[in-house]
């Protein structure tokens, strides 16, 4: 396998990149010492291309690509900026002070503006780069860590060492921000212009929107802070309190899992893969493919108690984000075969369901949410489909979610199902890879659309009863009943006009199976991503981190986000309308009501939900 990166066309015309850099540099509030706009006068990418070392290829097809690289750059690119600075220290000093206690100098504060030219050269970069390319959505390039190693700043004031040092320090700081936040946005927009002409008008539109609301420009690192758009994926505003929990959880979470130490471990892991060394560094909270790929391991469910619910959800939360690509390195799983094989584990029960099953039985809170998700998702899908959202959600990034979460699934439920074919559970793991891999990369979207809907539904539902009632035989029963209820519920549910009968017949078990097989992990993970966010919008109370993550994960590319927001608004509106028609208050979702009638201990359920606010890890 070889890649051919063509560097020369990139250096040919940099005028547009120059303009974009100029706007990016001028967008924020400037310190008082800078009294004019900053303009980029020269931008030369140099003749030496950066060196890329492939760490992982996550997804590869003719029209899309996802990979993680280690990038080192020691080329001859340079950048020249021009601006004007206020040279009188007294002037800048007074401009930030209150008038009342100002010494009010007569002329000592008179300004002297000096044109300043800064040249940045000898740029040395080194870092992990996540590169995602798809025909539809252009290139997304994100730096995993701070890539700037060193650079040389030369300016008009080189003769004055004090100013020189000051400039060097300031510019390095600014450049770090540029690399981590602005550059990905610029590259994304440039690539959209380049590859997809149909996006160009849309791009212009989004640019306007971005200009009007600056907050949307920043979501490149959506995990480091609270989301700046107080809107979840479906366009419903998230209130402040929710935001607080959201931000808190997500930030602590991500920074915990991507610490320096973890990066070192990842590096040693990748090192070990280059050699024949059998040494595999222990990486906490990572699940290796070797563990997961053996579905018949009898006690995997109970054998993973070391992975507490909190840790699992942490993994999930980490991987649900856009930036999660690097995390696939952490898991040690590489290549797309993982993606194909992983869902097999979750065939009967989705990864999340199995996860909570094995790990923590008392987590009714999350189970309940998932249960609701099933219902909501279906509706969402309907709405999404009807609004022609078919091709959009094929984010290659998110496939990691599925694989990761799937890998920690306890196998218990599968075995149970296998033993009872009467329940007509979805196919077992050995079969699946064929189907899914056949479908995997290039399968037509319409089919996905058709298939993905049921997948999460039955996948997510079953664990709920199990949870409330741990003994296994009962659990099986519960599975069966829940399956039934899914169907009945589905058939009973009033569908949005025109959609119901044609595209969504009540799911038979056989049909369930087929859909299970067909559902690509990618799409499943997608649906995963969406559901939690919908969830978070509904759950004004304590948000568990996965949901928080998934809301932020929607801030993928700017364009995508803008578009998603638009679509999501529509979807959310429809869902709400339908909800209102159902007359259903949001607390008991239909399947649960059914269960209640089946003499399920509903009180226990409710109580469990109420006392549950956050996973222990996040409380701590």
């Amino acid at each position: 396998m070889a890649f051919n990166f063509n560097w020369s066309p990139l250096i040919a015309d940099t005028s547009r990149a120059r303009d974009m850099l100029t706007t990016a540099l001028n967008k924020g509030p400037k310190p008082p010492i800078i009294v004019d706009d900053i303009t980029v006068t020269e931008l030369n990418l140099g003749s030496t291309p950066p060196e890329l070392e492939i760490l992982e290829i996550g997804d590869l097809a003719e029209d899309r690509f996802r990979g993680i690289f280690k990038m080192t750059y020691a080329g001859d690119a340079f950048l020249t900026l021009k601006t004007k600075v206020q040279a009188n220290p007294l002037n800048t000093y007074l401009s930030t002070k209150p008038d009342f206690a100002s010494p009010e100098p007569l002329a000592a504060s008179a300004g002297l503006t000096i044109p300043l030219q800064i040249t940045l050269s000898d740029i040395r970069l080194s870092g992990f780069v996540i590169l995602v390319f798809s025909k539809q959505k252009g290139v997304t390039l994100v730096f995993r860590n701070d890539p700037l190693e060193s650079l040389k700043v030369s300016s008009t004031f080189d003769s004055i060492p004090f100013i020189k040092n000051y400039l060097q320090k300031e510019i390095e700081g600014q450049l770090r921000v540029l690399f981590m936040e602005d550059l990905p946005a610029i590259i994304h927009r440039l690539s959209l212009r380049l590859w997809s002409p149909e996006f160009q008008e849309l791009d212009a539109e989004t640019e306007e929107r971005l200009d009007s609301s600056k907050s949307t420009i920043a979501p490149i690192d959506p995990l480091s802070g609270p989301p700046q758009d107080a809107v979840d994926e479906f366009g419903n505003p998230i209130d402040a309190s929710q935001m607080a929990t959201l931000a808190l959880d997500s930030s602590s979470e991500i920074h915990a899992s991507f610490s320096q130490k973890n990066m070192l471990r990842l590096a040693s892991l990748s090192q070990s893969q280059h050699t024949l060394s059998l040494f595999t560094p222990g990486i906490r909270e990572a699940v290796f493919r070797a563990w997961a790929s053996n579905p018949d391991r009898p006690e995997s469910g109970s054998a993973t108690p070391a992975l507490t619910q909190s840790s699992l959800s942490r993994i999930q939360s980490t991987f649900a984000s856009v930036k999660s690509n690097a995390s696939s390195v952490a898991s040690g799983s590489t290549g797309q075969d993982t993606n194909a094989s992983r869902p097999t584990l979750s065939s009967a029960y989705s990864s999340a369901a199995g996860l909570s099953l094995g790990a923590n039985r008392s987590r009714g809170h999350q189970m309940r949410k998932r249960k609701k998700r099933v219902v909501d998702l279906r509706k969402n899908r309907d709405a999404a489909d009807s609004s022609g959202l078919s091709t959009e959600p094929t984010t290659p990034l998110t496939s990691t979610t599925a694989s990761e979460t799937a890998s920690v699934i306890p196998e218990e439920p599968h075995r149970v199902d296998n033993n009872e074919p009467a329940l007509s559970t979805p196919p077992r793991t050995p079969i699946n890879p064929l189907h899914s891999s056949a479908l995997e990369p290039g399968s037509p979207t319409p089919r996905f659309r058709e298939t993905e809907k049921p997948a999460p539904s039955d996948a997510l539902l079953p664990p709920a009863p199990l949870l409330s009632d741990p003994p296994k035989p009962k659990a099986k029963l519960a599975n069966a009943t829940v399956h039934d209820f899914v169907q009945t519920e589905q058939s009973q549910r009033p569908k949005p006009a025109g959609r119901s009968s044609s595209s969504r017949p009540p799911l038979s078990h056989t049909r369930l199976r087929s859909t299970q097989q067909a559902s690509s992990p990618l799409l499943r993970s997608l649906s995963f991503d969406k559901m939690p966010s919908y969830q978070s919008q509904k759950n004004s109370g304590a948000l568990s981190p996965p949901y928080a993550e998934s809301t932020t994960s929607s801030a993928g590319g700017i364009l995508e986000q803008a578009w998603m927001l638009k679509m999501a608004n529509e979807i959310a509106r429809k869902v709400r309308e339908e909800k209102g028609r159902c007359g259903g208050s949001r607390s008991p979702s239909p399947p649960e009501r059914q269960r209640g009638s089946l003499k399920r201990p509903q009180g226990l359920w409710d109580g469990a939900e109420e006392c549950m606010d956050a996973p222990p890890a996040y409380v701590a």
Binding site: Y93, P98, A107
Partner: protein, 393 residues
């Protein structure tokens, strides 16, 4: 227009015989009044009162932001005699315009201030205390002024605001005014800025005993105008940066025969900034001012023009009747400047930024209407528009 509290402070300086004009900081006060005036933003209402000769209160309400306001109190140990009611006050005291310099006054002797009672000194130093709190922002401003001796005054300005570094800043100013020359020493807690200012007036020393001028030529030379020179120096101990400037001023005195005028020239040798102003009071109702800035390091220049026009109601229809009044008849007393319908201030600079201010008195209300415009930006000409209303009793 000065707000009520500033007016009260001026009244205090006046009552304690402190000459504000004899300071390097006010060297180009005329030009600043005519060119650098603030145009109001939004709506602002002020209700104030001098409840007792020693105590004043003022309440301000504005609509910058949503609603903001301030409450201020002032205490003066000197009873203030000046008319401060908005219906009675002299508009010349609250409108900052052309500043006519007065003759230098001989400073009081120390012993003039001594009051003895039963063998003990009972006199107190004149003190002014002023506090103002801005409500939504929770910013507190405080001022303390104390006349230490007839030639010395201590002023402490403090601002407390959580948004500022270290939560606030204090400026201490020690001013000496000896008539012939004046010096100021200041210290600001903000980056430990120390400052030094001095102003020297050429001409006869007012401290010398007023002797009859020897020759008529001497009278003509010295009494018609005053030439002053000064300098200032600042140094921030913490940020190791400083500033310096020197200045010259020539201003005519009241007994000048022609129209009064003021010329200043200031130079900032560090930053290469040269600024010259020329202000002239062309008539009782008109003052004009120009300022030219030039930087001989960057060759940047700027030109500003400003004017102040007092507009009076024509009372031609009753003038004939007034003329017929016999001199010994009792005329109806009128408030000073009662016929002033408004004062127009305008400025324009070479970038076509224009500021306009219309101030005056309607019944008991003092009003200020202002706008700043930018004629070069066609799509958004008005940059700020505002109105201020003041009432004081």
């Amino acid at each position: 227009m000065l707000d009520f509290m500033e007016h009260v402070q001026l009244a205090f300086y006046d009552a304690s015989h402190w000459n504000l004009d004899n300071s390097y900081g006010t060297l180009n006060a005329t030009a600043r009044a005519l060119l650098d005036f603030q145009t109001p933003r939004g709506l602002r209402l002020q209700i104030s009162s001098l409840a007792a000769p020693n105590f004043a209160t003022s309440y301000t309400l504005g609509n910058v932001g949503v609603v903001d306001g301030s409450v201020s109190y002032l205490y003066s140990s000197l009873p203030l005699e000046r008319k401060l009611k908005s219906s009675e006050l002299d508009l010349h005291n609250v409108i900052r315009g052309y500043r006519q310099l007065r003759e230098l006054r001989r400073p009081d002797e120390d012993w003039w201030w001594e009051i003895w009672h039963n063998g003990k000194r009972v006199d107190r130093r004149d003190t002014l205390l002023y506090g103002r709190i801005f409500l939504p922002q929770s910013r507190l401003e405080a001022l303390y002024v104390r006349r230490l001796t007839p030639t010395r005054q201590l002023r402490v300005n403090a601002v407390s605001d959580s948004n500022l570094n270290n939560g606030g800043t204090i400026l201490t100013l020690l001013q000496n005014d000896h008539g012939k020359y004046s010096t100021e020493y200041m210290y600001s807690t903000d980056s430990a800025l120390i400052g030094l200012r001095g102003l020297y007036n050429f001409g006869p020393d007012p401290r010398n005993a007023p002797t009859a001028p020897t020759t008529s030529q001497q009278v003509a030379e010295h009494m018609h105008g005053r030439f002053s020179a000064g300098a200032e120096l600042y140094y921030g101990l913490l940020n190791k940066s400083g500033g310096i400037s020197t200045g010259l001023r020539f201003a005519t005195l009241p007994n000048h025969h022609g129209f009064p005028y003021t010329m200043t020239l200031t130079l900032n040798p560090l930053m290469g900034n040269l600024s010259s102003t020329y202000a002239v009071k062309a008539g009782p109702n008109l003052a004009l001012c120009t300022r030219f800035d030039f930087n001989f390091y960057s060759y940047e220049s700027d030109l500003q023009l400003g004017c102040e026009l007092w507009r009076r109601r024509s009372n031609t229809d009753v003038e004939w009747a007034l003329k017929k009044l016999r001199p010994d008849w009792k005329r109806p007393t009128v408030a000073p400047d009662d016929d002033v319908s408004g004062i127009l201030k305008a400025r324009v600079d070479q970038h076509w930024r224009v500021g306009v201010l219309w101030e005056g008195r309607i019944k008991d209300l003092l009003f200020t209407l202002g706008a700043s415009l930018d004629l070069k930006k066609r799509e958004q000409i008005f940059r700020a528009v505002g109105i201020e209303l003041q009432y004081s009793s």
